[in-house]
Subunit: 316 residues, 2 copies
């Protein structure tokens, strides 16, 4: 299996400029430790997913791209592909699960995409059939080298902006983000460590990395966490990258995730969704499991129900 390289990430970086935001690193002074946030919630669509989606579309032959793309997701990847397709002026069809929240469907349609509903377990198959029928390419949420390389531009930017970085904290779900960031950081900052973060309730990758092989958790178990963006599991492709570039995984509790959301809103003035706050939860509550030195926590997204955010702000 071919793993992506830093050259793939550099190529992605050249492609996504002008479509994705080059996010700054934000120095935090919450305590004496050196923490920087990478605020991917500020991207168009409010999540890092725009990097992988734009790179995947940009890497297509122009003629192929012109026919349009298909994807499947009920989360941020749906909006990311819709946004990327709009940027390139090509059609997009997104397959979402039956009964997906209307607000997410509207957001995807707002970027000009067509939305098709299908049962959760059949989304991928429906997307593939649609793509075949329409002569289009499928842009998967993480199981694709160009998507991984696109997410890896976050690691490239961290290495450029903070070469002395010691630790990079990234959420792991399908593993595309951690694979890309791991590839970039391993290549550019060989002394730094990339550490994954998972909810305790969806800690399949922590277990898999310990076991040295993919251990599958039941989807219903993974669905227990409030972090709705972290309920997926790695593919063979992303797991191979994770084994090669990720040092370990820290797991966080549901309450720690909520507290991290609150700290992000009040001290960093950033709205993070639960999945976007887990890296900060690890930093706040698992200090003893982390290496010392300058740390970057990737805040992956900020698409959160206002009622949940209000609830978190009023806790205590």
């Amino acid at each position: 299996m071919r793993l992506i390289t830093i050259d793939d990430v550099r190529a992605a970086s050249d492609r996504i400029g002008g479509h994705a935001l080059r996010t700054p690193l934000l120095r935090q002074t919450w305590d004496e430790r050196e923490l920087w946030l990478k605020p991917e919630n500020l991207q168009p669509i409010g999540a890092f997913k725009v990097r992988g989606a734009v790179n995947a579309l940009a890497a297509l032959d122009e003629e192929v791209r012109a026919r349009g793309v298909v994807s499947y997701s009920s989360g941020n990847h749906a909006q990311a592909v819709a946004y990327a397709a709009q940027q390139f002026g090509v059609p997009a069809t997104i397959v979402v699960q039956d009964g997906a929240p209307q607000v997410k469907i509207s957001a995807t349609k707002a970027f000009g995409a067509e939305v098709v509903e299908a049962p959760m377990t059949e989304r991928r198959a429906v997307a593939r059939r649609l793509a075949e029928r329409l002569g289009r390419v499928v842009i998967p949420p993480f199981d694709h080298p160009d998507v991984i390389a696109g997410q890896g531009t976050i690691g490239l930017e961290i290495a450029e902006d903070l070469p002395a970085v010691s630790t990079v904290l990234v959420p792991i779900s399908g593993g595309g983000l951690a694979s890309g960031v791991g590839t970039a950081i391993t290549a550019l900052c060989p002394d730094a460590r990339v550490i994954g973060v998972e909810p305790e309730l969806a800690a399949d990758t922590a277990e898999s990395l310990r076991a040295g092989r993919l251990v599958r958790w039941d989807a219903a178990d993974r669905a227990r966490t409030i972090a709705d963006g972290l309920r997926t599991e790695p593919s063979e492709l992303t797991f191979a990258h994770l084994r090669a570039t990720v040092e370990g995984v820290v797991t966080v509790t549901e309450d720690e995730i909520r507290q991290a959301m609150r700290v992000l809103a009040t001290r960093a003035r950033l709205v993070a969704e639960p999945s976007g706050a887990v890296s900060v939860a690890a930093w706040l509550f698992h200090q003893h499991e982390l290496p010392a030195g300058p740390t970057v926590a990737v805040v992956t997204g900020g698409n959160v129900d206002p009622t949940l955010l209000a609830e978190v702000l009023q806790a205590r």
Copy 2:
């Protein structure tokens, strides 16, 4: 009266690098109009005030600066001066009003500053006496060329990042920010217009600009607005800058400010304090009073009581 020039703003930009964040412009796609946000809530201390404070300290002779500084404020300027003094390793004493919120006092002390309480109306006099006794310089919140030039770096960055800007929306209170931004934009983007924004309940500058002279509103009247950072009034120095560089003032209601806070949190994933949301309130609700074309709204700060933010998120 000498007004600051673009050269002063350029000098400020050179001085503040490394101490203040060069904030990105964030493109929003809320409707078909072209809106960019300048998120100053992401600065260290959570507000643009860090630019003016750092520039004022950096511009001092090293020997003078080493003796330390004094300031008076109960808002973001207090933390900005404390932060700037810590960056330069010099002592700072901040005079706050009797009974100022403990959370603000703690935040200021966290940067190593000494905090002295005094009655609201005597803060400035107490600060001056303290400075005289300690042989220190006073760094006022807005009535100072170096503070104005520091805030003006926001305009310089806007001109660099979006040369085709048509309109820049900035809150006006003491007027330091609008004076600095107005100076930079007038010099670098002569076709663009800088438009001030005030709460209806503290619209003294709107009235002053119409009258062509400083019209004073009672402090108790200005204090009615939820936008606690916009309860001050311009000085002769800032008003001279405003007359020269600001096209006009749009006024917004209290409810519009709250709605803008909600939109910023849910659609831009930014936590804004009421004062930081007024420019977006103008853009959302006063379209007919604004010129067409690419618009930048400066989101000046994000230091808001979590309870108020939760309340705003749950409205409707």
